[in-house]
Symmetry: C2
């Protein structure tokens, strides 16, 4: 069974944190919410989130997921960025050829980890001023989602792109999301809301 | 200060439950998550939600909100629909000319309450087979969001329309959401994702 972990840090953007969990569970992907410090995490908009486990509990188990997903939110992204234990696990995941994904502000964490070096990515508008300084060999793009097959990186831009991000991750993992996209009215929204 | 309550019932669709909370708090709207039975509620996709209060605690205080929002999710919508105490409070809100909003499957609750009678609304595709039976004088439309000024009703269709629903509620309450829409990349998504 496909297994994905979503990293939840204090100050995370709640839509970005929970939309992938909702989408992946609809798809039958085994999805684990991993709190950075604790199972109980307060989001950026005072929405209290309850995770399934914590990073301390998971430990090297983080290497066993098919993808590890970083939501954005400035506070959450900085907390993920500054965690050395998480950095080392994520570096080992990239070296092992496993998928990693980040959206909005969270590519600042991947920049510090060295995961963006020589790879294609996107982020929240303006955040590239930080990522290009920290990871100058990374190639920033303005697309809604960016997939770098070589670096096994999936990145996206902000709250409104959270569904696109989740579907893109499913596609990369070989899980057909077409029916769930339809059930969630994503094609309907794009066709009708101009 | 504008005050909104979001009703959270077991089996609610988590994106639909939390997207309005996130958007409203970004807009400076005082937003209260009200658990139907308890402050702790399990969503349809096993995401544990922690509310600020419960319906029993709020009681007639529900009459004091500028809008009460019902997210969808089949299980959550049925639980809201079948709660007689909530039905009576919502009927009094409509009689008092207060705004009420429901999306996805949740218009089945408004149908039972009589809130749709003679008014314009939308719901998740197919749910109108139920609502038109229960509330035959309601007028179903296929738009992403429907605002009925006379019945003070705002309705929408499914997870992918949750942002549009939240912005539409803000507009109806006279709160300018243009800058928050931009910050959340909603116009960017619609302009770029075809």
């Amino acid at each position: 069974m496909t297994k994905v972990a979503v990293m939840i840090a204090p100050g995370c953007e709640e839509i970005e944190a929970l939309t992938p969990v909702d989408v992946f569970r609809r798809l039958g992907i085994e999805t684990t919410m991993v709190g950075l410090d604790d199972r109980q995490v307060m989001g950026a908009h005072q929405i209290a989130l309850t995770c399934d486990t914590s990073l301390a509990e998971v430990g090297e188990g983080l290497l066993g997921f098919d993808c590890v997903v970083f939501p954005g939110g400035s506070g959450g992204a900085k907390a993920l960025r500054d965690d050395d234990r998480l950095m080392q696990l994520m570096q080992r995941r990239q070296q092992a050829g496993e998928w990693n994904a980040a959206m909005c502000a969270a590519p600042i964490a991947f920049a510090r980890y060295g995961l963006l070096d020589g790879h294609d990515y996107t982020c929240f508008p303006g955040i590239e001023q930080t990522t290009t300084q920290v990871a100058p060999s990374g190639r920033f793009h303005e697309d809604i989602t960016v997939v770098d097959e070589k670096g096994k990186l999936i990145t996206s831009r902000g709250p409104a792109t959270a569904l696109a991000f989740a579907y893109c991750i499913a596609d990369a993992l070989g899980v057909d999301a077409a029916e769930v996209r339809r059930q969630m009215l994503y094609p309907y929204l794009l066709e009708n809301n101009h």
